[in-house]
Symmetry: C2
Subunit: 124 residues, 2 copies
């Protein structure tokens, strides 16, 4: 499952709606992004095309309408991005990064509980 394609910022937006639910037609995607972005439908078509070229998406043609589905998993892409982000911005130092995030954002009591649970698992 390596050889993940590089997915750009805009492409991530498109991938997310397809990861949420697939298959999806171009129009589905356009509809889903109407609220979130101000992109023209053509722009979204272009992004879909590029993602197919990159082999991040596949499609099934039903007549001349394409039903797109992911060829890569969100988990895998997130993992790859996370690694390179950690390396680039925090020089690979996980603990400072996590501390930084924890300080940055406000967390609810439940979130803190959940994180503590994850930590406990790691700790044992």
């Amino acid at each position: 499952m390596r050889n993940l394609p590089g997915i750009s910022v805009s492409e991530w937006v498109v991938m997310r709606v397809i990861w949420d639910k697939s298959p999806r037609t171009a129009n589905d995607v356009v509809g889903a992004l109407e609220a979130e972005t101000a992109w023209s439908p053509q722009t979204i078509k272009t992004l879909l095309n590029r993602l197919v070229k990159k082999k991040a998406l596949g499609y099934e043609a039903n007549g001349r309408i394409y039903h797109y589905y992911p060829l890569v998993q969100e988990e895998d892409c997130a993992r790859a991005e996370s690694r390179s982000f950690l390396e680039r911005v925090y020089r690979g130092a996980l603990t400072p990064m996590l501390s930084h995030f924890l300080e940055l954002e406000k967390l609810s009591a439940e979130e803190i509980e959940e994180l503590r649970r994850v930590l406990d698992e790691k700790g044992s």
Copy 2:
């Protein structure tokens, strides 16, 4: 302290050596990166130039040798990158991101302790 310039992946590498110690001449930077990268000195000069144009770096000319220093702080840049990363890859959901990282990497007992401490501070 907003209006942070967009710093590319390669530019981050250069910024890091200047954040580590400044001011630094172009040659200092070239020397520092010799081990880490395979870039030609010209490439590094180009990156320094672009960073000056972006106002991420300033310099003091001593004769015709420039001594570069950061105009933006690593903390601020890291914060900005972190936010956009979190948004893009984890849809802004902090807890899943943190869990993901915790599962991804192996942590030493000390690191786990440190994180627990940070969590405790947040929790109180």
